[in-house]
Point group: C2
Chain length 265, copies 2
């Protein structure tokens, strides 16, 4: 019999995630790097938008003992995997601080609140929005406009929701492909400022494959391109030391600028 799911260890076995095998998005390093952007010793409330089986949100909860996390996932299948993930005995140490909300991140207004996404309750919102690699490989003209519009709508809707459920001065964190930078900046618009962007390059001489972005709700600070990350050194395939620490939950990657709320802006 072929297993339909796997149970994967993260943070060197500190927590586990049950996720479907084959088909659909499987969480890995992206989710761990995303989680590393949340840096706080306080009793914070964190929302993981489009959480899937919960890898990023659980990585926050695993590293930050005072963090409470909402996993927000539209797909009944993936929300079910998130619930099963929380029920794993290995995750008992954090399960009490994590809840699953089965809801569409793209909702707005009263339907959003009715779905359990309440206004201005979170200190941090993290997201690793889905993207369609297949659409990129098919050549442009036919699909391009459509795919582009889809992506634009996605970032607009997700970042709008992030702004709504976050406290003033709260931090948005996301990981995305470099090509999405325009949609992200436009969606941040006047909702978020003080963008800090870190490009992830597989190697020092290669183009970026991901960007890490943080922003602060209500900030008017200008954009910064932080020192880049190189995932691998020039020779060999091992993760560079700092990226390895982030991937394994041994370090956080805090913002350069402290959070600013409206009164400080």
């Amino acid at each position: 019999m072929i297993p339909t799911f796997t149970i994967d260890a993260f943070h060197r076995g500190r927590f586990h995630v049950m996720q479907p095998k084959g088909g659909g998005h499987r969480s890995g390093v992206d989710a761990m790097l995303l989680a590393s952007l949340v840096a706080s010793d306080k009793s914070i409330s964190v929302a993981d938008l489009g959480s899937g089986a919960g890898a990023a949100g659980l990585a926050v909860a695993a590293r930050l003992a005072k963090a409470r996390v909402q996993l927000i996932e539209k797909s009944p299948l993936m929300a079910d995997y998130a619930r099963k993930t929380l029920a794993l005995p290995e995750n008992a140490f954090l399960a009490g601080r994590v809840e699953v909300i089965e809801a569409d991140v793209a909702l707005s207004g009263k339907p959003r609140v009715a779905a359990g996404l309440r206004d201005e309750i979170h200190d941090h919102v993290i997201m690793n929005p889905p993207f369609n690699d297949a659409a990129d490989r098919r050549t442009p003209d036919a699909l391009k406009a459509e795919a582009h519009a889809m992506t634009e709508d996605l970032f607009e809707a997700w970042i709008r929701t992030a702004g709504a459920i976050m406290k003033p001065g709260g931090q948005l964190s996301l990981i995305a492909r470099p090509q999405s930078i325009v949609e992200i900046i436009e969606a941040c618009g006047r909702r978020f400022g003080g963008l800090e962007i870190t490009a992830l390059h597989p190697r020092p001489d290669e183009s970026a494959t991901r960007i890490l972005v943080t922003a602060v709700k209500g900030s008017r600070a200008r954009l910064t391109f932080r020192a880049p990350f190189f995932v691998h050194g020039m020779d060999g395939h091992a993760f560079s030391g700092f990226v390895d620490d982030l991937n394994n939950g041994r370090a956080a990657y805090p913002r350069l600028s402290p959070k600013r709320n409206r009164s400080e802006a």
Copy 2:
């Protein structure tokens, strides 16, 4: 008597630029890096928008023996320095391939053509648009909106002109501050695609202070963040080898993707 101008050597003395002393923008490394983005052995036509005394345009002409260059400068004072620069005996080897056009880059339509900026004649357009450091230092609220609008208008107007005077498939190259990324991307809009962005960091662990951007007229290719430049190594103040080569005209920094014109797009 205090001199009102200086004559500065570039490319280790290969050419010289006469520029006013104190007050106003003085050209240096930024202009040399901008010039390095033009890479072609063919008989190309290049426009340097807002050329000042001509440092970037002359750096192109000095390195590329077949390049013809138009220096386009609004300020009568700076255009005069550009003409004096061309008249320097040290610059005789390139002066025949360079002309000065005293015109406002922000012109459009018939006035632009009448000022000497003809449609679709250039293979390359380069620009190092002015920015106001003082405005950034003064704290926001009062000046912010105004300064922001100014910058936005500037990139929109300059990139519109670049698109107009460039052949289809021609290359736009610019150097700017990282904060200007949004205005640049928006101004490129549907005129230019295939943006390649290189962040310049003073040191590997510091945030970027400049971005180099190239784009191709009519391209629909997606954006790339190229491997970053570190101007200095972690220790000491000498330029890193490659940046030093670019600064001294010993190397070009060509695009990753070959130029695409409309028919290839």
